[in-house]
């Protein structure tokens, strides 16, 4: 578990992945994806589009949060490397 976490964090430290997520976010908010979920139905009793947007929102917040932890982690490693 810990190894997995370290691995994920390591791969997330790339600056490029920021931009990828940013672009991904915009893509998820444009025509094709929106069209998929743009239906007047209830899923688990919640309107589909409402569910899609709120879930996507939560995920994006979590992603940023993880990134922040990762970048702090990276900074700490850097600082440790500099100190000795």
């Amino acid at each position: 578990m810990k190894r997995l976490r370290t691995k994920i964090m390591h791969s997330m430290q790339l600056r490029e992945s920021w931009i990828i997520f940013f672009i991904l976010g915009i893509i998820m908010m444009t025509f094709p994806f929106l069209h998929i979920f743009n239906k007047p139905i209830l899923l688990f009793g919640v309107p589909l589009l409402f569910l899609y947007l709120t879930t996507g929102w939560i995920i994006s917040i979590i992603v940023i949060y993880l990134f922040m932890i990762a970048s702090h982690h990276e900074n700490e490693i850097k600082e440790e490397n500099i100190k000795p």
């Binding site: 743009n38 309107p47 589009l49 917040i61 940023i64």
Partner: protein, 1082 residues
């Protein structure tokens, strides 16, 4: 009814007081140095100022009328948050670096500190924000009326029972303006953070979140049975509206996503470009690291504040049966259910949302107004002492103006628009800054012309397609303009420009404004070039991340006339007050490690100028600060002029460019080519004159009389006559360079006449000169390199002086090496001469020795019955020992032995004099004592003069009688060894050493010698000879040896004595001269 009104009023006042106290506390904490604001959570909360009463009331309104697309207004900022890591961080870094005060200032500074761009951005922001402020006032006054149960009318006047009316909106506007002034315009420095304001805003963000959550939970779980319940009941109750609200346009059977994208785009831009957002995000940011927390905390905040919007909207529709008045469902639902306390909380939340926004917005806009509208006018006047007061009051006036303009817009537009639509007009205006902003941050070619034309065009389209229709709906502008277009031209219809139909109002406006904005920005930027000021600023904005920030940027400008620190101080204090100016200068001097009193070097002056500009920019904005400083400089007759670029190419790597390296290389070639200093100096000067287009270069050094003399000189124009007087004038500089080992230079002789009178130099036509000491690190100055130019003022830049100093160092090294080599050669030749001299002296001494030896008798006289022998061995080349025999007749011989003190040549000369005198005397004088007396008298003067003495023993032996008569002048007593006695006898008489007193009487004695008697005369060298242990040979040694060799001949006795002495001393070399004379009676 009246009671309700007063309750709401009292609670509003109490709440306002609470916010004020919080702000005051935060301010107080900051003053005492323990900021509560410097905290990432507070920072994220303060960003919540994005959620105004538009969010608070309007979201629900929009959710209930157009549906779920309200969420896009908040999803956009959440997406933008991804970019903050690099985008926002970069903006903050730049803003802190340049004391940026607002978004107008940012754009203006990026594009060459253009005052026009600043003013344009300000006007757009000012006009664009008007609907937004109006929206807040409308929301709060409506909610106030709703809560207090008053009937509202479009002008928001509350009619009391007595018939008097209370203009709620106006009162609210005034209160908010007052608040803004208290929190945001107490001091002038706008780049400074307003901790009280931020504390208030953050608290308000918290209140509105809590209030909306409480209302949401109340509606969702109180009135209904959770989310699912609401949604399912709604779908059952009104499936058509359900489809309309929970999809994008699907109900129209024409789902297009243009408006979706428009909302997303507008909100993505607005979160950073709205003046208030820029203010809280950038200007009020206390620590860059807060960004990373805000990046997820702020989207989370937006998520929380919106999660209950849909349920409240649906709940409202289900409860009231329609979506009319949906803007205030937040307030009305609790009210209808009879929960007045929740309604009151909801009202406070709305008040918070509106108040926070109006305060931050009005402060941000008033700062922009002051710096970009008022300041450009003010800077045209001469600064006065009351300027700081004027400026701060102008800023306060700006706040009131912003709020009041919003109020009037509200009065005009009234209720014709929903809250959301009013807000979107502002968003659309702010988005006009986006191309210039992003281009400014990442595109180096983006220039002022592009930014101004782009923003201006975009703004005009916005004005025409959005603001104008908003007025026309309220009846200000004839409807025909909208339906038929101006002058009936259909293509120019504001809502269907150029025939573009089928788009909603926002998308239509956004498309055309962005189209013209971006195209103009890009085309102008590509076609037109940037001026120098712009390039400078581009470098500061884009360059700072490309290279090491600590790398000192080499100055490319110089002040044509030096300005003192005091002058800058006076200038600053005129705008920001004396105490602030003092503070600022202290910061500068501690950073530069100079004290205010010390005159700063010419190279630092542009830095100080820039610092002054930056400090002023913190209060009046970059463009105005630049104008102020430039006016000031031109008033005192100084200006920034480009430094003569001595290294004409390569600007990018200023430290070591090609020209500089070339000169260094050439110089080292010259220095290493030869050891002839004159050639080195001449060639080096030639190189400097040629490469740097100097007119004269010379090297002067102090000669032994401490006067400067020219060692080498080179001219560019060989035909000019050479006027040494003008170099004489510069001698004070040379002296100075000798003393402080620093380069001294004057970059414009025509202006700088203060230090030394250089009339002749000026008359000669020189306009700049430099004197660089030639020395090695840690050693005294050897010479001074002087350079003169007739053509270029400002030739001596810091880098040029550094290069010259380094060349001077190389030259000093070469000089030292040459000098060392010369010194070694000199030493060697001196040694050789000395050796030669010594050899000559030695030879002379050897000759002297030979001569002196020849003074001594070659052989002893032969007299019957007497065996005489004598010998002298000297220790040095020449000595003072002397013995002689004078044969008077066949039977009479005079024997003399003497010792002149010392072994010098002087002693030898005296000895020869003695010999000469004796030879003369012995012919006339017969007796020994008489001879000594005469000799003493004759030698006295010479001996006294030479400070020498002589001991002498004079004996006369008559072989016929066997009588030896003798006199002694202090000499060692000769030893007489009788043939028949075992003891030795010493011969002595009374008498002084020769040369002590002029007239001395010498005693004469006589002794009769018989056959077998041996008489030994000796000098003190014999008795005083020492062995290795320091024991002297002594008289006893002389006596005892004499006994043992009585049977030997006189010559053999002498030989045995010498052998004895050599054996005794253990050395072949004598310590002193030893002379022995042996007389043996046979």
């Amino acid at each position: 009814m009246n009671g309700t009104l007063s309750t709401v009023a009292v609670i509003s006042v109490l709440y306002t007081t609470l916010i004020f106290l919080i702000a005051w506390y935060a301010h107080h904490r900051k003053e005492s140095g323990r900021s509560i604001i410097s905290n990432p959570v507070i920072y994220a909360l303060s960003l919540g100022v994005y959620c105004t009463s538009w969010t608070y009331y309007g979201s629900v309104g929009k959710a209930a009328t157009t549906g779920i697309d309200f969420l896009l207004i908040y999803l956009g900022p959440s997406l933008t948050a991804f970019s903050w890591l690099f985008l926002l961080r970069r903006i903050i870094k730049i803003s802190k670096e340049h004391n940026i005060t607002s978004i107008a200032d940012f754009l203006s500074q990026r594009y060459g500190k253009s005052p026009w761009l600043g003013a344009l951005v300000t006007i757009i922001a000012f006009l664009g924000i008007m609907p937004y402020i109006a929206l807040q006032l409308k929301a709060v006054s409506t909610s106030f009326n709703l809560l207090s149960g008053m009937q509202t009318n479009p002008t928001a006047f509350i009619e009391l029972e007595s018939g008097t009316t209370i203009p709620t909106g106006l009162i609210l506007a005034l209160i908010l303006a007052l608040f803004s002034i208290i929190f945001g315009a107490r001091r002038l420095v706008s780049s400074e953070r307003h901790e009280g304001l931020i504390a208030a805003v953050a608290f308000e963000s918290l209140v509105k979140l809590v209030a909306l959550l409480v209302v949401g939970i109340f509606v969702t779980y109180g009135l209904f049975d959770g989310f699912i319940d609401i949604f399912e009941r709604f779908k059952v109750a009104d499936p058509e509206r359900f489809s309309q609200l929970f999809t994008f346009n699907i109900s129209k059977n024409d789902p297009n996503y243009i408006s979706t994208f428009t909302l997303l785009f507008l909100s993505m831009g607005a979160i950073m470009l709205l003046p208030r957002q820029f203010h809280v995000m950038v200007i009020e940011n206390s620590d860059e690291r807060h960004i990373s927390t805000a990046m997820w905390l702020f989207p989370a905040y937006l998520f929380l504040i919106n999660i209950f919007v849909m349920p409240i909207a649906i709940g409202g529709i289900l409860t009231t049966g329609s979506s009319s008045g949906a803007d205030f469902f937040v307030l009305r639902l609790p009210q209808l259910a009879g929960y007045r306390s929740i309604a009151l909380l909801a009202f406070l939340g709305g008040l918070s949302a509106a108040a926070g926004m109006v305060m931050v917005e009005s402060i941000a806009i008033s700062t922009m107004l002051l710096n970009h509208i008022f300041m450009p006018v003010i800077v045209r006047f001469t600064p006065r002492t009351w300027f700081p007061i004027l400026l701060i009051n102008l800023k306060r006036f700006g706040i009131v103006l912003v709020v009041m303009l919003g109020f009037f817009y509200y009065k005009i537009i009234g209720d014709s628009y929903t809250l959301v639509n009013m807000g979107l007009i502002s968003f659309s205006a702010a988005s006009q800054f986006m191309p210039a902003m992003l281009g400014g941050l990442y595109w180096k070619r983006g220039n002022k012309a592009g930014a101004i034309s782009g923003i201006l065009l975009g703004f005009m389209i916005w004005l025409y397609t959005l603001l104008l229709p908003s007025f026309s709906k309220s009846g200000w502008i004839p409807e025909t303009l909208l339906s038929n277009g101006p002058f009936g031209i259909g293509l120019l219809k504001p809502t269907e420009l150029f025939g573009l139909t089928g788009m909603d109002l926002w998308s239509h406006s956004l498309f055309w404004s962005m189209f013209f904005n971006i195209s103009s920005y890009v085309i102008c930027s590509i076609l037109l070039t940037q001026n120098e000021q712009e390039r400078d600023q581009v470098h500061k904005f884009i360059g700072i991340f490309g290279q090491d920030e600590s790398h000192r940027r080499t100055e490319r400008k110089r002040l044509s006339k030096p300005v003192t620190t005091d002058q800058f101080f006076t200038l600053m204090s005129k705008f920001i007050g004396e105490s602030e100016a003092h503070k600022a200068l202290n910061i500068y001097s501690s950073g530069q490690k100079i004290t205010g009193e010390v005159t700063i070097s010419e190279f630092d002056l542009p830095n100080l100028k820039r610092f002054t500009e930056k400090t002023l920019a913190g209060s009046v904005g970059g463009a105005a600060a630049r104008a102020i400083v430039n006016n000031f400089l031109s008033d005192i007759g100084s200006s920034m002029e480009p430094v003569y670029d001595i290294f004409s190419t390569v600007r990018s790597n200023l430290d070591q460019n090609r020209e500089s390296l070339f000169v260094r290389l050439k110089a080292s070639e010259i220095i290493n080519r030869t050891l002839d200093l004159q050639v080195i100096m001449d060639d080096l000067l030639k190189l400097l004159v040629k490469e740097f287009k100097l007119d004269v270069a010379l090297i002067q050094a102090k000669n032994t009389e401490d006067v400067f003399s020219i060692r080498s000189i080179q001219w560019r124009d060989l035909s000019t006559t050479h006027q040494p007087e003008c170099y004489q004038e510069n001698i004070p500089f040379l002296d100075l360079a000798y003393r402080d080992q620093k380069a001294h230079f004057i970059n414009d002789l025509r202006l700088d006449r203060t230090v030394t009178a250089l009339d002749k130099t000026v008359a000669e036509g020189f306009i700049s000169c430099a004197h660089i000491p030639i020395y090695r690190e840690g050693e005294p100055v050897i010479a001074v390199l002087s350079l003169f130019s007739k053509s270029i003022a400002g030739l001596f830049t810091q880098e040029f002086i550094e290069l010259l100093s380094s060349l001077a160092g190389q030259l000093a090294q070469a000089i030292t090496i040459v000098q060392e080599i010369e010194a070694k050669q000199l030493e060697r030749s001196q040694k050789e001469t000395a050796l030669l001299k010594t050899a000559r002296i030695t030879r002379d001494m050897e000759i002297a020795q030979q001569i002196q030896k020849s003074f001594l008798p070659d052989s002893a006289p032969v007299i019957a019955g007497v065996d005489i022998a004598g010998r002298c061995i000297s220790a040095a080349h020449v000595g003072g020992d002397y013995y002689d025999f004078f044969l008077r007749n066949d039977l009479t011989v005079d024997i003399v032995i003497a010792d002149v003190s010392g072994h010098s040549v002087g002693a030898a000369l005296i000895m020869s004099e003695v010999r000469t005198l004796l030879r003369a005397e012995t012919n006339s004088i017969r007796t020994p004592h008489a001879i000594l007396e005469t000799l003493n008298t004759q030698l006295y003067d010479d001996l006294t003069r030479a400070e020498l003495f002589i001991t002498m023993f004079y004996a006369k032996y008559d072989a016929a009688t066997g009588i030896l008569s003798y006199s002694n002048a202090g000499h060692n007593h000769p030893v007489l060894q009788r043939a028949d006695e075992s003891l030795c006898q010493e011969l002595d008489t009374e008498g002084l050493i020769l040369g002590v007193i002029k007239n001395v009487l010498f005693e004469e004695q006589a002794v009769k010698l018989v056959s077998g008697d041996i008489l030994l005369f000796y000098t003190d060298g014999l008795t005083e000879a020492c062995n290795g242990e320091g024991i002297m040979f002594n008289t006893s040694g002389v006596y005892s040896h004499l006994k043992t060799c009585s049977n030997l001949s006189a010559k053999e006795i002498i030989d045995s004595y010498y052998a004895m002495i050599h054996a005794f001393t253990g050395s072949q070399n004598l310590q002193d001269d030893i002379s022995l004379v042996v007389v043996k009676i046979t």
